[in-house]
Amino acid sequence: MPPSASLVQPALWPLSLIVFLPALVAAFLSLPIIPKAREELIRWITLGTLAVVFVLSLWMAVPQLFGATGPAQFQIGQPEMQAVVKLPWIQAFGIEYLLGVDGISLPLVVLTTFLSMLAAAASWPITKHVKAYHVLFLLLVTGMLGVFVSLDFFLFYVFWEVMLLPMYFLIGIWGGPRREYAAIKFFLYTLLGSVLMLIAILMLYFSSDLRLLSPEQLTAAHVVSPALEAAAQAEAVQAIKTAADPVHTFNLLALAELGQLPNSPFSTSMVWGTSLEIWAFLLLLIGFVIKVPVVPVHTWLPDAHVEAPTPISMILAGVLLKLGGYGIIRICYPICPGAGLSLAWLVCGLGVVSMVYGAFAALAQKDFKRMVAYSSVSHMGYVMLGLGVWSAVAGQEYRWEAWAQGVNGAMFQMLAHGFSSAGMFFMVGVLYDRVHHRNLDEFGGIFNRMPVYAGLAVAVFFAGLGLPGLCGFIGEVLVTLSSWNYSRTLAVISAFTVILTAAYILWAIQRVYLGAEYKGPHGDHLTPMTPRELSIAAPLVFLAILFGVAPQILFNYVTPTVNRQVQTLAAWTRDVHDAPAPVAVAEVGK
């Protein structure tokens, strides 16, 4: 494709702007054009930028709101990758600037833009080095959005790492008393995970071979752009098919197609007696679960969440943890299905252990924010369990519905947790801004002093608890139900964890909001919520209720893509994995 033609791809500007506008504004802010002292202006520019990005993402996601339906806008109900942008980047390695959204990534993109906007609004109390804070914050947003929309593994990794440094500084400079420790711990854990991921990326790259794919698969994976004319497509396919050496690729969709081939190159090559697929799955899984995080690699999370300033805690809990889950669903399972099947017990086991451990740990906390942090560990355990239940196996007659229920539940849980946990951290922050402590035992009687705040806070905490009618309920119940088909023990444990969750949240509500009167320090600072705080809390509460009552709003996006992926993997289990060997050989022969 000539470069001039490639710059007019319909989706190029909307998607690229969503990702890079924050970074561009960050670069603009870091120039000495706006003086440091104009703090209010810097805050408004940041908030305005993120509002524009949010509106842009809405324009893509909910075209009905805007009347027009452009080619870059998302068509609900279509499971495929949409709004794909494809530009060559580093031709020597076949690395591309390949972006796209589907039902899995688009809701997460909108979640990110929405929470970033709210977090920018929640950043008003930040008074130290305002300019630097906002520059770093905007860079962080670019990194997060980039991860969700990248379809090239190299690009994905670049965005994945771009987040680290801003986050390090945001925790380390604007954090609480133990901020330096928390920041370096966060960085070390994540970097360890990403180095392992890099090794897996390279292993997959060097064993991939595009020549094994059919022309249809090449087009479906956007290796050959379907936007090209038929003749040009055929030519591009021919060039790949007739190459003398293996054609390696970083294209995530093509890697998934390769991983699901009978006798896929990943399952046939061995390293130390174990297939490469297993190694890659494990390395990637470690990288992702550090981010999720699951027990036993969760220890960075309580420190980072507690020390980070309120808006950063919101982003950490609301978005960063989802990156891990997203990576597992987008990369681990489709690319390494064999490993996913044989290690399903590991993923589910890790999920259930985190669920229970996180709940018990939350029960034991004296610090309000730490308790919320551990509740994230527990809630993300449901995501792991939902993603891991590979129940479409021979004994279950390859029925994919039950499994899809789990994955859909996990996706819903991720989104719901994004709203509820960001809300919980914000609510803790509101209180902390006033009384400057978070000791659960020194609260009480907030309901009398701040009735509006307390009402909203209780709603958000109930959403976290998983009360029916609120968003937390749907995901947990779907995951628990679907895990029944996989393992009754795990299902029972995860059902019982709900009781623990109820215990720590209700106990916290009782200690903080109920009671006769507030006896802790700085009681006279307990002023009602400001309009700014209200405008952050209210949308979160509204959405928590909305998605609890009408979950299909989200499922309309998520389900088609998830179902298709699960169906494909279930069929893969039947046809490839469980099929007698001669059939597989015959498949290769044709």
């Binding site: 990794y157 790492e161 440094l165 380390g172 960085f187 890099l198 790259y205 060097f206």
Partner: protein, 547 residues
């Protein structure tokens, strides 16, 4: 040859060869030599003494860079270059070799020289009085380094190493009257002399057994020794000779356990000298390592095609030596950097660690050379690319140290506390440079590491020296993680810590001459991290000599 040797024909043939073939491919070196003479001449004549020697040196370096660039441009396109072993020509009757790798390395070295002279001019060391001495030493050492990159004969290897080293010893002590500098110089010289002696002894052992010092001929002889069957006494001598040669190279690379000079010299000498030793010297040493290991294990040319299989044990030996040294060097460099409080010492250990990463790439290249020459060329490309980015990263790091020293009168990390309050620009530049040294995207250091690691993975998937390559991959990955800590500590001090009450010196704005130099060095680190196709294409050309 049946003809009786005719002195006349021999002389005219040599003369003809020198004038028409060798010298036209030797122009960058000639430019450097002429500049050295000019610098010394300017010293003699009172009128010319008014001329700033930095400008003379800059002019000479620019000429060298121009010629090196022209030579690089004149190379055939990649596919052809790969077919002709990078346009390989032996010059000066086989003492040197010109190919795409030589051309690329000379470009790197001359380009470095230009940037380096500008940087030293701005930073003020050397002062005007020392200028002529300093720059003629620098140019002389660079000349030696260019020869290192193109050596094709063990005699030339030794000559080039000494030519690069001896001026460096003097450079280390260029700050007259400073005890630390003199101590650094004497330590460096003694260590260097020892290493040179051992290397010379190794060369004489190799030459004695093989009967030649011409590297391609040595490869032929080695193949014959291998063919001769069961190992005899000569293999023992050859191994010993090879190891002793490796000692000399390891000294130049500052590879463990021959790295002891490095932190002391870097700490004692001026930051400007550290920059020179850390970038140019390292680049030349890596180039020489590739040269020697390749010429002995995988000789180029039609005639050599038959002996490639026979040389497998030679390659295996060099891979084992280089890989083990790389693993140890990388780990020790990173671990020792933890405890450092002096920025130059920290950078010294960082240099050692990076030598380890570079050697990993070399090990992968040699391992792949036999079974997959194309992949080996990619590995050489990775190393060449690494050197190209390393130039900017490390020169920028030392430039920042030098300029901060001029302001703060200190090179202790603790004295950088809270710099972000007064000089945010320089802190951003430092962040870019140090994070690139860690190897995080989207900075150039990441791409370099990515390429080296991908060569290792390619070697693993090709199944050559699998255990060693896996070891290197794991060691490299872990080292990236542990290196995070000490680089970040510098940034932590600069940003998190409160500035001292009694800070001497004023703020360091980016809008100033030193600021411009730092910016000019740091911006390529960022740009090459995103748009690296251009440099990669050049590095691919360099790697073509190996395919």
């Amino acid at each position: 040859m049946n003809d009786p040797v005719n002195i006349g024909t021999l002389l005219s043939g040599t003369l003809n060869d020198t004038l028409t073939v060798s010298l036209p491919l030797f122009r960058p070196e000639l430019a450097l030599s002429a500049t050295i003479v000019l610098l010394l001449l300017c010293r003699m004549l009172p009128v010319l003494r008014l001329l700033d020697s930095a400008l003379v040196a800059l002019g000479g370096a620019a000429f060298a860079l121009w010629y090196a660039w022209v030579d690089l441009q004149a190379l055939p396109p990649l596919a052809e270059a790969a077919a002709s072993a990078g346009g390989r020509v032996e010059i000066f009757s086989g003492l040197l070799v010109f190919d795409s790798f030589t051309a690329y390395l000379r470009c790197i070295l001359a380009g470095f020289l230009v940037l380096y002279i500008v940087f030293t001019k701005v930073s003020g060391i050397p002062d005007r009085e020392d200028g002529a001495d300093f720059y003629s030493l620098v140019l002389g050492a660079t000349l030696g380094m260019c020869l290192m990159a193109s050596a094709n004969h063990l005699l030339m290897v030794f000559m080039a190493v000494e030519m690069a080293s001896v001026p460096s010893y003097a450079l280390a002590g260029i700050l007259k009257g400073r005890r630390a500098a003199s101590e650094a110089a004497i330590k460096y010289a003694v260590y260097g002399a020892g290493a040179a002696g051992i290397m010379l002894y190794g060369i004489s052992l190799l030459a004695g057994v093989l009967g030649t010092c011409h590297l391609p001929s040595m490869a032929n002889e080695l193949a014959r020794v291998v063919q001769a069957g069961p190992p005899g006494g000569s293999v023992m001598v050859l191994t010993l000779g090879g190891l002793m040669l490796a000692v000399g190279l390891a000294f130049k690379l500052s590879a463990v356990p021959f790295h002891f000079w490095c932190p002391d010299v870097f700490e004692g000498a001026a930051a400007e000298v550290g920059a020179f030793l850390s970038v140019a010297s390292k680049a030349a040493a890596v180039a020489l390592l590739i040269r020697v290991a390749y010429a002995l294990g995988m000789p180029a040319g039609e005639a050599a095609a038959g002996i490639v299989a026979d040389l497998a044990p030679v390659r295996h030996f060099s891979v084992a030596v280089i890989a083990l040294m790389a693993a140890v060097t990388c780990t020790l460099g990173n671990l020792a950097a933890y405890g450092q409080t002096n920025m130059k010492r920290l950078l010294a250990y960082s240099t050692i660690a990076h030598a380890g990463y570079l050697m990993m790439g070399v090990a992968a290249a040699i391992a792949l050379a036999g079974p997959k020459p194309a992949a080996a060329a990619t590995a050489v490309t990775a190393v060449a690319f690494y050197l190209g980015t390393y130039l900017f990263m490390n020169l920028a790091a030392f430039a920042i140290v030098a300029f901060l020293r001029n302001r703060l009168r200190s090179e202790e990390i603790a004295s950088y506390a809270g710099l972000v309050r007064t000089s945010p620009g320089i802190v951003v530049a430092t962040t870019v440079v140090l994070v690139s040294l860690i190897g995080l995207p989207p900075l150039a250091g990441f791409v370099a590491k990515f390429l080296v690691f991908s060569s290792l993975v390619e070697a693993i998937s090709a199944g050559v020296d699998r255990q060693l390559m896996l070891l290197l991959l794991v060691v490299g990955g872990l080292n990236t993680v542990i290196s995070l800590f000490y680089y970040l500590r510098v940034l932590k001090v600069m940003t998190f810590d409160a500035p001292p009450e009694d800070r001497a010196g004023e703020a360091f704005p980016l809008v100033s001459l030193p600021g411009a130099v730092v910016t000019a060095l740091a911006v390529p680190v960022l740009v090459l991290g995103v748009f690296w196709s251009g440099l990669y294409a050049a590095a691919q050309l360099a790697g073509a000599f190996a395919s």
